[in-house]
């Protein structure tokens, strides 16, 4: 448990990184740079009764399939469409590329 809750780790929130469109790995070739915003951080303090109960049931060996009993840090909304010019001189538009805000869900 202490391993999981190392100190200094940020709570779930929006982070950003500058990458080229090619680096997104979506199959588009473009040298254009984009700010990619993503969700990252701790959610273990956001556990609901559901998570506690599920963990107990799971550890009792009642369930066959694996389950998740800690909320996950995920985007709640996405930024508007992002458009760019590809290396082939064609324009492309990507939807829901970047996170706008995050939450433990």
């Amino acid at each position: 448990r202490t391993k999981r809750e190392r100190k200094g780790r940020k709570l779930c929130g929006l982070q950003e990184v500058e990458v080229s469109v090619t680096q997104l790995g979506l199959g588009y070739e473009s040298e254009e740079t984009v700010v990619f915003r993503y969700c990252s951080g701790r959610c273990s303090k956001r556990r609901r009764t559901y998570d506690l109960a599920l963990e107990s049931i799971q550890s009792a060996g009642v369930l066959k399939e694996p389950t998740r009993h800690v909320p996950c840090c995920r985007p709640l909304h996405y930024e508007e469409d992002f458009s760019f010019l590809g290396n082939n001189n064609k324009y492309y538009t990507i939807q829901e590329l970047s996170a706008q805000d995050c939450g433990c869900v």
Binding site: Q15, T33, P66
Partner: protein, 475 residues
Amino acid sequence: MMFMHIFSVLFFLDEVVCSLASVSAVSGAGTHGWRTPVDCVRASDMCNQNSQCSSRYRIMRQCLAGKDSNTMLANKECQAALEVLQESPLYDCRCKRGMKKELQCLQNYWSIHMGLTEGVEFYETSPYEPVTVRLSDVVRLASIISGMDSATVRANHCSDSGKLCNPCLDAAKACNLNDTCKKLRSTYIATCNRGSNLLMPTEPCNRKRCHKALRQFFDRVQTDYSYRLLFCSCRDKACAERRRQTIVPSCAYEEKVKPNCLELRNTCRLDPFCRSRLADFHMNCQMTPHSITSCPNDNYQACLTSYAGLIGSDITPNYVDASYTNFTISPWCSCRGSGNFEEECEKFLRDFRENTCLRNAIQAFGYGTDTSLVSKPVTVPPTPSVRPDLETESIPKPSVNTNDIKPGVDACVFATCASLKENGPKCNLSKNYICEMDPNAETSIVPWEGRSSSSCASGRAVIVCLSYVLFKLAL
């Protein structure tokens, strides 16, 4: 060298003053001094509060409403109304680019000014206020750096990385890092590109909506970002093609048929918005033989602003090809089928294709020519009849010829700050945090070590850049 500059400036000083005087005469305020122009929406309100003015104003609008406005204007009543209105605030009112109720303002303007001209004039007076905003300091600072330390710039960016430097790509990067620019650029690209996808190649794009989105982009985005995209300087074809593609020409520029330029101009003049932007372009980018830069008042900014103002109108101009050695600009029209008006048509087209003022302004922007001269007339209050206090020692030789430019020396100036940022100190934020306790968690996420710190580093970089510039200025 310095003395030559001073000499040439003294030589041209009186000519500059001459051209200023002529401009103030053109704008029609020469006779009774330059009043600070009211905007035409307010001027119209003021006129409507006065019973005499408002009745004449109503008559005037009726005079211009019919198709045959020229014969109507010859009418005695119309002439009398015009005479009264010449004394009203409507006479020398102006509009601002991107103002609230811009269209209404322009309509009010033309409701008087269409009556003032006899028949069709080749050049019309611009309804817009003179450009007094400077291009932001970033641009000027960049040019200062480039002038003083071009060797460092080159070493830092262009030749070291092995990749060809592409200022137009840098401009796209700068735009994508700014939320407003990224959003409005994405909007116009998506709007203009809609329909031209692989699934529906035959479906035409919605040109009107595309033009509107382009106008919003150039009205609302800071010129630092939009002008860099539009006027970036190129040393290779890939860059020049990117520059040509900036306005999504397949939708915003090209059409199946190339209309005659005079026909296009007539279409434009039926629309108060297009008419105003064209008049503004003609006024600010008109080749002026008596000025050093070949631009009116040596004001590059005014010319670039009115050029960008045409984008999204019926007369949308663009680079005609991806030539990087020499660029040509033209609206989508030709002088075929001009008949008796061939000469007039060629003259109209020359103002785009062979306009040395426009060319110099674009090159000075893209290549970072020292703009200290250019910013001078801009610092003067919007009073063309007042003589600007030119500081003689700070004026360099501003005329730019294609041959004079040493390509690449300072083309990538803007990258200096970017590279500073990359080398700058990095903040240790967080490592990627994978959802805890997840048996299904995929470990394929590749962490970007240390690169999530850009927002921290950029603050430092700005400070470093600024102090560097100040230091250089002190020298």
